[in-house]
Amino acid sequence: MRILLVEDDPQIGRGAQLGLNQLGYAVDWVQTGSAALTAVATHDYSAILLDLGLPDTDGLAVLTAVRARGFDNPVLVLTARDQVADRIIGLDSGADDFIVKPFDLDEVAARIRAATRRSTGRVVGTLRYRNIELDPGSRSATVSGVTTALTSREFAILLDLIEHAGQVLTREQLEASLYGWGDEIESNTVQVHVHHLRRKLGKDLIQTVHGIGYQVEKE
């Protein structure tokens, strides 16, 4: 899952980027509203974490602008002001959730998951595909009742494929949900992770579409 973090404070920005990355998210971090708009226009994001106090523009203006450009994935607002009036304006401007600073990274991750889940119409946290149950909260996969440990990247690839079951995802698309900008992408990593997934969950789950990418069959 790839997330755009819009935060002007370097300590919070760098920390949150790294912290969410440790939790298995690919995070692009920008410090200004204009950079945020450029990023949204050029990349796909599952969610945006938006700080309201930006140096160049008001965070709410950024929110309105990305919504106007058709971004309909969750936008979670980071704010140091937890006034009810601010929340109302924020929610009315298209925010999905409010997170008050200082925040807990686990909570931020959980809120991102909850918001994306809501936006895809799911109500429970776990995702089912045939005999596999995926829990994004604990990043565990249960196959026929037996829990199998997955690394955060393996989990991210599997989640991406299952969420887009029936579609072919290119290697680049899968890489995009694994790495933020500036992250070093090792060559063949997607292949390596798919290989590990097949070993852990069975050969037939993920199919290779030669020259294009991978897919799981529609249920």
Partner: protein, 451 residues
Amino acid sequence: MRVPSFGSLRVRLVVFILGVSAAVLCASGVVVYVEADRESQQLFDESLQEAGHLLFTLAEHEAEEMRTTGASHLIPMISNHQPYLFFQIWTENGRLLYRNNGAPDEPFVGGGRTGLGWFDRQGERWRTFALWNNTHTLHMQVGEPLRHRKETSIQFAIQLIVLAAIILPLLGAMIWWIVHRSFEPLRRSTDEVGTRTPGDLRAVDAAKADEEVRPLFAALNHLFGRMRQALEREQRFTADAAHELRTPLAGIKTNLQVLTRARNADEQGIALAGLTDSTERAIRLVDQLLTLARIEPDQVMRGSTIDLAALVRRQAGEHDAAARARRIRLSTQCDAATVAGNEASLAIMLRNLLDNALRHTPEGGEVTVSCGRVNGRVELAVSDSGTGIPAALHERVFERFFRAPGDQPAGSGLGLSIVRSIADLHAATIRVSDGIGKSGTTITLSFPPVA
């Protein structure tokens, strides 16, 4: 003359009004008494004269008869009518012809004088009247001891005193009631204010107040207004401060979480650096907040005369190391100048100006502090060759927690608002203009001349 206070306006008013009333009453009593006494003396004299004439007519008649019969019945009748009236009838050669019972043997007046006169006997004073008959053969003398008149006067005086004794308490009660009634609105307002909660700083209704207390209410309302403003400012400040602290705290918390989950030394390094920076920022913010809170109370800082040039040299010296570390040329250019104020807060102000200038000046830049007299005022200017402040933000940079867009490294947003607070306390004006060599900023403070 110092007026005793009694500690209560009401008591004082009652005591003074009653005192003055009593004094006026007593004075008029005395005047009435003296005047009445004078008039009654006149009346007494007139009646004495009348009685004299009457008695004399009768006595003359009887004297004629006495020479023949020696009988008398009219005179005692008259005498009995007026028990205080005594008389003697003398012949022209000084023989006492007749005197009524109680009249002395010696003549009231000697030498055949006539008219009103005085007679003293055994320590007692008499009022007398004497006259001759037409043939100048009989000398009639009438006398009346003053004791009688005094009794009448004393009786009158007693009546006056009794009257005063009745009037004064009534007067006192009335005055008390009137004063009490007059103070009623004040008492009601006092109760209204007295029972308020500490945060209730509404204005007291002064519209219906009497002219005398209206200025007090107005002053009270003015104070309430200022307290309300101070309270609002305080609350806003607290909210702003809490909000501002959240940012470095968020940095600390986030980096702490990253640190505990660090997968390698690189991540550890990043998290530690973030932690350090965030902590430094929190500490500086708290320092600045404390500084601002300490200069906030509107204490009037007057009294001492500060040598501004010396202060500038000292502060520049303290910033020398920081300037050298970044190869910034820090110079001072100060003429002798003094301002009236508080040295500690002026030092804080100058420190913030220098911090600000150094922070926004790139390596190898220049910062100059100058002071001196300009047009009768004392000016202090800090110029830098830094990034400068866009004209549109010249006012806003002095607002609390305002940070210019892209302001790096990020300050607390309080430095210049501290400068402004201290400048305000010293009645100094602030001007922002271009700095050294087109770029940069000059902040000039203009102090009023030392009185």
